[in-house]
Structure formats: structure tokens, C-alpha cells
């Protein structure tokens, strides 16, 4: 394409620009991979070692730390808890969020803007600020120390941005598709499920990554609401490495490495759809 910034066949001036740009991008890529590598490598060293020489390479690659974290500290269970809590919350976010986005974008009625703004206000209101009323609420609903409490909180946190993004996409689905489906005898649910949702599929991957990552990494709400060891999630488990006067850096890095792996895998797997999702007329 003429608009491509290519290297071959370009004049010397342009070649220089491309080279410079490549250098910049490579430098940034290095800046991205170094901390990742650092974190993973540090998980094979002892705390004292890490503090003494933070950037040295590990002397041995034994998995003692991983065994200590996964088995002794119970991270195996925390990992599973994080997995199913995140998956459940994400499913609900996608389901309820897409339904709400549909209800707001595909119908014309007077209250539609108000409803849209109500959802949007959720983005602007930091939930942490209301933790004590929230706790009392959960207590009244008898959900304290039950996973449903944090699942509901995560869903509530994820809905506003999901509705915001998906409504934007759904608005651009041509009305003719809908008319054709109705003539074929589809009801509203059928249109939602068979026409609109498949069209906005690329946006789904965007919404998934955008919400799944903060949910997976959140430590505050599970810390407050899930007090029994059997329900704790991965980030909460990580807090046990922060002592009052000492930090177990070695196990902390091991825990962090374990925590970043699923997200990394999910991302690399979805990257293609995710990038396509952002590229498909997203921002309107």
C-alpha cells in the first residue's frame, strides 16, 4: 500500500526515519520483556540473593520455590478459585452486559439515554470508596465469605465499560438485517442471539481482555469479603508474603509469575481477535 512505511525501495531520508522508528519500537519492546524476564528469573532465587544482586541470573533452576508456593502455601487452591471466580464473573459480564447494551442501543424509547447514563456512571464511581456500606450490604444479603459476593462486585464493575463499548458496536448493525430476521419469524431474543451478537463478536474479545485482567488481578475485594482460606484467590494469597517488617521477595516473585501466566496465555491466544476487535469500527 502506498501508505505503508516500508524500508525497501525507499529513499535515504525515509530509510533513516524507518530505522529510527524501528529502534524506538525495539527499545520499547525491550522495556516490556525485561521486567517480565526479571520477575520469572527472580522466582528461582532466595530473598537475600535478590536483595543483594537484583539483576544477577539465578544459579540453579530448581523448582523448590514453586513447590513451596503451590503446595505449602496453598496456591494450587487459590489458583483454581481465581480461575472459576474470574470465569463466572466474565460470563455474567458478557451476558448481562451484551443484553443491556442491546436493550439500550437497538430500541428507541425515552428512557434509553437515562438507562445508558446509569450504566456509564458506574465507570466514574470508585467502588472502593464505599467499602463499609458495601460490606454492610453484603452482610444483609448473607454473602460475606461467599464467592458470590465478589462475583457480583466484579460483574458490577465490569458492566459499565462493557455496555459502553458494546452499545457503540451494536448501534452500527444495519436495521435491514433486523427487519429481514423479523420477517423470517425471529423474536427479539432470536435477533439478539443470531443477528446482533455474531456481528459484534470481535468486540467481545476486546471486552473480555479489558475486564478479565483487572478481575483476575484484583486483591482488595477478595481480601475484604473472602475470609476463609478455602475461598481465597491468587492475589489475596500474594498478600501473605508481605509481612509487617519483612517481605518474602523470593516467594512473592514466584507467586507473581504464577499469577501472570494464565493472563499472558489468554492474551496471546486472543490477541488476533482482540486486535481485530479494536480495529472493527470500534470507537463510535
Amino acid at each position: 500500500m502506498t501508505t505503508d512505511l516500508r524500508f525497501r525501495g525507499a529513499g535515504p531520508g525515509r530509510k533513516a526515519v524507518v530505522l529510527l522508528v524501528e529502534l524506538l519500537l525495539c527499545a520499547y519492546a525491550l522495556l516490556v520483556f525485561y521486567p517480565l524476564a526479571n520477575m520469572v528469573l527472580s522466582s528461582f532465587r532466595s530473598t537475600r540473593d535478590i536483595l543483594r544482586a537484583p539483576f544477577a541470573l539465578p544459579t540453579a533452576f530448581d523448582l523448590a520455590n514453586y513447590r513451596a508456593v503451590w503446595v505449602d502455601k496453598g496456591f494450587g487452591r487459590y489458583f483454581l478459585n481465581s480461575l472459576w471466580i474470574t470465569a463466572t464473573a466474565m460470563t455474567l459480564v458478557l451476558l448481562l452486559g451484551s443484553m443491556a447494551a442491546y436493550g439500550v442501543s437497538r430500541y428507541k424509547y425515552r428512557l434509553s439515554t437515562l438507562v445508558y447514563m446509569l450504566f456509564l456512571s458506574g465507570i466514574m464511581l470508585p467502588l472502593k470508596a464505599a467499602i463499609i456500606p458495601l460490606f454492610i450490604l453484603m452482610k444483609k444479603l448473607a454473602l460475606v465469605d461467599k464467592p458470590l459476593s465478589v462475583i457480583l462486585i466484579f460483574v458490577a464493575m465490569g458492566l459499565p465499560s462493557t455496555v459502553f463499548i458494546l452499545a457503540g458496536f451494536m448501534k452500527s448493525v444495519p436495521i435491514d438485517l433486523e427487519h429481514a430476521a423479523r420477517i423470517d419469524g425471529c423474536n427479539d431474543w432470536g435477533i439478539y442471539r443470531r443477528i446482533v451478537m455474531p456481528v459484534v463478536a470481535p468486540a467481545i474479545s476486546l471486552v473480555t481482555i479489558y475486564n478479565a485482567v483487572p478481575i483476575w488481578n484484583d486483591f482488595f475485594f477478595p481480601l475484604v469479603f473472602l475470609q476463609s482460606d478455602k475461598w481465597k484467590t491468587l492475589p489475596v494469597g500474594l498478600t501473605s508474603f508481605f509481612g509487617q517488617h519483612s517481605t518474602n521477595w523470593s516467594l512473592l516473585f514466584t507467586g507473581l509469575t504464577i499469577a501472570v501466566l494464565p493472563v499472558l496465555v489468554l492474551y496471546l491466544f486472543m490477541a488476533k481477535y482482540f486486535i481485530r476487535g479494536m480495529t472493527a469500527g470500534a470507537v463510535k
Partner: protein
């Protein structure tokens, strides 16, 4: 109301109510409760007498709350300005480069978003390690022969906030990059090719054609930056602590709120009334600023 309208109403309710119920119960209800809390005086964790706007007056007019509050707001403003100017410009720059399909763009597209995947704890820790006086960054400066530029990046009052913002930019620049990439890719290729063939220069094409057509994405990024700058908390908490160390130079209304409402070991017992008042101010500011920017930027939209 006709039968058709009634049926339509029921469908709307079906789609919208479940999500709305969750948002209302979990977000809006506690919000109103904390608004309620801000109108009372509190003795430790017990609610006292109704004081109306007394807590708000405390925040805006009495020491030390007043100095702390305006100092914090000032830092939030710094966050917003630097993030807008640096992060979003970089995002625009990267997005533009990637849309021009520089060699390796598929690879860079994926790499650029990876920092977003790290947990904030991991980011705060790793960069806290690199920014120590004898850490990687200072070591790197020494290597380049710029040893005199070494500083206590997180310990110097004049530099701490900027250091944390820099780390935050490292973390988030992938997001505006991909959003702008998407927006620029949406500009019809024929438009651009025609402009090139007419001999227009890069800069002109960017300024006159691309920029106006991507205003909606600029709006979204701006609004999200405003919301982000007003709510920033975890990044500061992990890198310099709850008290806005050193000497309140990294304090923002997020950390001020948390300290006041929940207390901390060093800074004292919770002041729920005043803390809730600060929380209400945060809500109001975020809401107001977002609405304002949406309204202003919507006017600048250009249709094709």
C-alpha cells in the same frame, strides 16, 4: 399503550433489568449510603449527629484538610496533564506508526499491550526495584556516562510524582496506541491514497485528514484519562505508600480519601464523615469532568 408497545416494553425490561439491578445494588446503593454518611459526624466507627455540610466545610476550609486537599488535587491535575501530553501523544504516535505498517508491526501490536496484563503489585514492585538509588535505572545512566543525572527517583519531592507517572505510562501506553490504531485504520484508504497522489505532505495529511476523523476516539481516551487521573490510587500505594511520601508530594485525592476514611497505622484512626465527604467530592469531580469533556469534544466531531 398498545399491545405492541407493551410487548416492546417487556422486551426492553428483559434485556436491561438484570444488568441494571446489579449496577444499582452494588454501585449506586453504596454510593448513596456513603453520601448519607458524609452528612454526619462520626465517633470512630459509630455514627454521631447530623452535621449537614459540616464535613465538607472541614475539607475545604479547615487545616490540615484544606492544604492536604488542594495539594492532592494539584497532583491529580499533574497526573492528568502529563498523562494527556505524554501518554496519549505517545499512543497517537505509536498508533500512527503501526497503522503505517512499519516492519514488524504485527509483533509490536501484540507486545505493546503486554504491560497492561501485569498486576499493579508486580508493576509497582519491579519498577520500585529499578528506581532505587543503586537500581537499574541509575546504573543505566552511569553506563551512558550521565552519572550526574542520577537521582533518588522515588525519594525526591520534585521527582517522585513524575517517576510514578512515567511507570504508569509504561504500563498503559498500549491502550491508547491500539485504540488510535483502530481509529486511524478506519479512515478510508482511498482518502489517504488520493491525498498522497495529490502530493500532500505527511504532516498535512495527518493534521488535516486523520486527526479530525479520529476525534471520537480522542474523546474516549480523554474521558478515560480524566477518570483515571482522578481515581489513581494503587500505583501510588505500591510505589510510595499511603501517605503520599515524600512529604505529601505524591499525595492524590485517592490516597487522601483512603487515609482519611480508613485510617492507617501511622496516619491515625478512620474519620468516616470527612472521608465520605472527600469521596463525594471525588464522585462529583469525576462525573462533572467526564460530562463536560464529552459535551465539548462531541461538538468537534467531523462526519465523513
Amino acid at each position: 399503550m398498545t399491545g405492541k408497545d407493551a410487548r416492546k416494553g417487556l422486551w426492553i425490561a428483559f434485556f436491561v433489568l438484570p444488568g441494571l439491578a446489579v449496577v444499582f445494588t452494588i454501585i449506586l446503593l453504596p454510593l448513596f449510603m456513603s453520601l448519607f454518611n458524609s452528612l454526619f459526624s462520626w465517633n470512630q466507627l459509630l455514627r454521631g449527629d447530623f452535621v449537614g455540610l459540616g464535613n465538607f466545610r472541614k475539607v475545604f476550609a479547615t487545616e490540615p484538610y484544606r492544604t492536604r486537599f488542594f495539594n492532592a488535587i494539584g497532583n491529580n491535575l499533574t497526573w492528568f496533564l502529563v498523562t494527556m501530553l505524554v501518554q496519549n501523544s505517545l499512543g497517537l504516535f505509536f498508533g500512527y506508526l503501526l497503522s503505517r505498517r512499519v516492519p514488524g508491526h504485527e509483533f509490536f501490536k501484540r507486545v505493546i499491550f503486554i504491560p497492561v496484563l501485569f498486576s499493579i503489585v508486580a508493576v509497582g514492585f519491579l519498577w520500585g526495584l529499578y528506581l532505587r538509588p543503586n537500581g537499574l535505572f541509575n546504573g543505566f545512566l552511569k553506563l551512558l556516562g550521565a552519572g550526574s543525572l542520577q537521582r533518588a527517583w522515588l525519594g525526591d519531592e520534585n521527582l517522585a510524582t513524575f517517576s510514578i507517572i512515567a511507570v504508569n505510562i509504561w504500563r498503559w501506553v498500549g491502550f491508547p496506541s491500539l485504540v488510535f490504531l483502530a481509529a486511524i485504520d478506519n479512515v478510508p484508504v482511498e482518502c489517504l491514497e488520493a491525498a498522497y497522489l495529490d502530493g500532500a505532505k505527511e504532516g498535512t495529511i495527518f493534521r488535516r485528514i486523520i486527526l479530525p476523523l479520529i476525534v471520537p476516539s480522542i474523546t474516549v481516551i480523554t474521558v478515560l484519562t480524566i477518570i483515571g487521573s482522578l481515581n489513581v490510587f494503587e500505583q501510588i500505594f505500591t510505589m510510595t505508600g499511603l501517605d503520599g511520601s515524600p512529604n505529601f508530594s505524591t499525595d492524590t485525592i485517592g490516597t487522601l480519601f483512603y487515609r482519611t476514611a480508613f485510617g492507617s497505622v501511622d496516619s491515625g484512626n478512620p474519620e468516616i464523615g470527612v472521608g465520605s465527604a472527600i469521596g463525594v467530592v471525588i464522585y462529583a469531580l469525576t462525573f462533572g469532568a467526564s460530562i463536560l469533556s464529552i459535551a465539548t469534544l462531541n461538538r468537534k466531531e467531523v462526519e465523513l
